[in-house]
Amino acid sequence: MGFFRKGWRARLMLVLAVVGPGFITASVDNDAGGIFTYSLAGAQFGYTLLWTMIPITVALVVVQEMAARMGAVTGKGLSDLIREEFGFRVTFFLMLALVVLNLTNVVAEFAGVASSLELFGVSKYIVVPAAAALVWVLVVRGTYESIEKIFLLASAFYVCYILAGVLAHPDWKAAAFATVTRPEAEGIRNYGYLYMVIGLVGTTIAPWMQFYLQASVVEKGVTARQYRALRWDVILGCVFTDVIAWFIIVACAATLYANGHHDIGSSGADAALALRPLAGEYAYLLFAAGLFNASLFAASILPISTAYAVCEGLGFESGLDKKFHEAPVFYWLYTLLIVIGGGVLLVPRLPLVYVSVLSQVANGVVLPFVLIFMLLLTNDPELMGDHTNSRGFNIIAWVTVTVTIVMTIAMVLTQR
């Protein structure tokens, strides 16, 4: 009888163990940087940029699936594999770039925390230090499992963006039409347009998320055999992410853009405040609550995931089970990411949204280089065995690499 019960429990554990990494990653995908970028895209361009959602979703599925598959097949993190296959020097410079890039993303997360609470009249000079301390303690003192449960529960909050979108009374027909319309060729010569598209790519397919997703697949101990369930977790997570993103763009397009509020750059609170008279009291509250939750959520994951990736790639001791003196680089890096990331925000009159969107554009610029490493690794039969990329995956991923690089070059050329 004990036998039967344990068998049943083991099966349930298997399902729970596998469903998770993809969905959590998807949830942190719509972090503060994401919400600001989607909001600004809607406010500045209305429904015009909705066409990006379908290609970005396809690319996101392909890229995340690659990261998850690599984790399941090799049992190693992305930075470990880059180190083992491409050597110390390449890893060092990539990790350096990753630290700088992720630091800007940490700034964006704290900007999200600050601007969401500004709506309730709390000063950022109180909010940011408090949030930074909270995140530090939550991660270092709390056990991984209990944090993860909080995160998973918090994912449900994202539904509020769909509600905000609906309450904004958008023109559904125009929005749907814009989603499937071919983009206008003019865009490639417009700096502002390119900047925003690269930001959308960079925020949705953020480089740090690939490191995080692969690491959590390894952490969960998902093996190549259990990989089928994981694949669905990843795909559903990606689709969920982009449905939310679509609703945020639509909400801001229907209210801010339609009423001529194209500039929400100085504070994220502007986006929510501008929604208030246009979409009603609840849309504004939901937007603020969602932003707060998403920012704190991602702020808890991003610095620690960066510290892990860097230390594993460069061979420093890492892990929360180690004491401070046993893994000094790991803890210092983690702490400094939070302290500096939060500290930047204390600069008076910092344009929060512009800074956050800039970090997402930087994500988009760096993304192709991370993708190239991922592509080389996932096509290596010695590493992946029978699980190398299919031809279709390679095509989609290489197209993503090429298009992002071309757009970056075009953006630099069109800048005045």
Binding site: M1, K6, T91, G221, T223, L314, G315
Partner: protein, 412 residues
Amino acid sequence: MAIVALSELLGATVRDATGAVRGKVREVAVVPQDHPTRVAFLVVKTPGGERMLPGDALTACGATIRSAGDASAWERFAPSDRVLLLKRDLLDQQIIDVHGRKVVRVNDVELDAVPADRQMIVNVVAVDVGARGAIRRLAHGAVPSFTMRALLERIPPRVIPWQYVDLLETDPARRVKLKIAYGGLATLHPADIADIVEDLPPAERESVFETLDEEVAAEALEEIDPEIQVSIVESLDSNRAADIVEEMDPDAAADLLGDLTEDHSGQILREMKPDERREVTQLLEFGENTAAGRMTTEFIAVPETAVVDDAIDALKGFEGSREALATIYLTGVNQKLVGSVPLVSIAVSSPAAQLSQLSEPYIACAPDTPQDEVAALFDKYNLITLAVVDEHGRLAGIITADDVITMLRHAN
């Protein structure tokens, strides 16, 4: 002697006896079957493909490499399972630092080139896992070599002598050919082995458990996190898994098998010896969080009429864990528990002393006692072991204090 780093050799120019440049170093190879540390040959990239420059033809091994013979004698390089390629198999890879008891990543490899009668003998002496190797790799080629040497000398080295390095290899056939047996790892305390294994990727964990002696593997496995235990056992073939599970404490084995799928645990049980299988199957019947689920059936019980000498004989023949030795239990008619004698009393008494004279009142609980009550009993009576008796008062098993500590730590 002159220490030269692998990263300095790689890419170095190779000249033959006439001084003509013949190519650049691609790889440094050791053939462990011939010599455990000696460099057997260098793989040199020449205009005519990759060639093997034999180690015993080296006359200089540093910034420039000179060969005594003619380059035309170098054979074409063909990859082989018997050959350890230092760049591919060691540089940037993880190894086990046996002395430091952890898994580390290799930044560089230190070789020692000793001149011996018109040739150089080159041996692998250590792996560099510190900042010195890292900076050398980073700056190599970008900073003039004399500046670099001056710079590197200021950095304290962090190297692991080669004898304390255990390489990791997941391919079993290659493991044999490269003579990788995790010999250093096996000398560590099982709890340290467990910590190291937990830090390894799954394939490497499997390779460790395929290779280690069953007894060592079993003790280490007991100390490993339950989830990782399951994934390790699932990756082993059921025959090997059964060999290891047989050596485990029955209570630990039962906990482990209970976490596996029915199919898999059934397979392993079928491969086990009948005695061990019976013990483990009995334990499997109980809930994991009760006294019976935590107890071991390997304990020492002697008849109440026995003397100290009999108890010592029983101790000598005992194959269970050392923790279970702390108390000798006395049984009466029908195996009923009647008393307990601490090991200390036996040590200080004469061989002919009656055990019943030394006996103390025993503390026991029923098989279905919840684990928190078990812990409370240990606390209240300051126990080292606790007897578990069935409904007829027969001794079914014992719980040891180390199990309770594990249990409490997991409960938190």
